[in-house]
Amino acid sequence: METIEATLAAHPFFQGMTPQHLAEIAACGRRVQFNADDFLCREDEEALDFYVIISGSVSVEIFSARRGPLTTTTVEEGEVLGWLWFEKPYHWHLDARARQVTRVVALGVEALKAKCEADRDLGYDLMKRYAHYLAVQFRVSKLQLVDMYGT
């Protein structure tokens, strides 16, 4: 079976990362498989993992008492899930549910933070990637807000 390190090396989020940093991150990871309708996380739960989506599809949902779960975005193979695991109180803000069998590498947030503190080069590299990811998410969210297709 492919090592977690090799799986991460092939993932777009970690593209170009040094083998040494990949090895450190892989040490925080474990493989998890979710079946359709399993929740990867629920609103207000503690954020224990940062998910690297290897295959499958996840819907990110906001629950409305009147309208039920509303899908705000989907996260697919090649993307990552986990918004604010660097920020207190380390709680999930939304629900995320597998839409089909979905395989991920779950990176333990506590271990990851410790690695970043111990190795600032690794921390900076990861933060740069994370900042880019967040910038893209913000841009996409703004476009969704303007209702581009409105007449």
Binding site: S57, S59, L70, T71, T72, V140, Q144, V146, M148, Y149
Partner: protein, 289 residues
Amino acid sequence: MAPEPEKPTSRLPEPDGLLLPHLFRVESRHRETADTFTLTMTPSGSGSEWPFAPGQFNMLTAFGIGEVPISISGDPAEPQRLIHTIRAVGAATRHLCKLGRGDLVGVRGPFGTAWPVKEAEGRDLVFVAGGLGLAPLRPAIYHALANRPAYGNIEIIYGARSPQDMLYFRELKGWRGRFDARVHVTVDAAPPEWRGRVGVVTKVIDLARFDPPHTVALMCGPGVMMRFTVQGLMARGVEPDNIYVSMERNMQCGLGLCGHCQLGPVFICKDGPVFPFSRIKDWFAKREV
């Protein structure tokens, strides 16, 4: 006997398609979404074909109400049927969307520039459509799929507000079912039963498979979408000369005479509606025009 004085005769001028509309009869009307309909029409008088190039548009007359520019959305290989997809947003389009089998429509055209489907041969083709923007792209997609060996990868990216707002649903499924083209559909918001992607079109650009230096991108959709899609394509390395956009705004005469559609130095109806992005980039996002 003196010859009878010649009677003055009045004859209707022959339709020329430029200033006088040809008459077409509605064969069928298909509801695409709550406010968007596709009319299939055939010539009512002389002539049995209406040849056009993918990307061109016609001026459609709703008699007694007005005239509107509408992109041709049918197959250029079937010029005997004229197909237009129309969203009911004003008096003339609302009237056109209510027409039924046998009703008459005036047609002037075809006008405007075409998608560069010939020039794109040998390249990867990326179609990016948003909302109603799939209608003017559909003839180019038909052409590309009918001439599939002439192109590299074909990627069709389509975004809509919701699953209910998608055009040509069955056709999208058909294209997706082919093994020689990839179709990416995304919506801005969806109910839980929607199994497709949720997110904006620009996010999908990164997933499309194409070789940027050898890619031609054809795009039509709302201005905001096109602006950000151009950025996304250029970030991946597609040259501005190889990005084509269809600008459809304020067209009224179709001949470049009235000036309503002027965008900087060009008239959309006469010089467009299809432009290489490099030609209009200075005017593309200008707020004052």
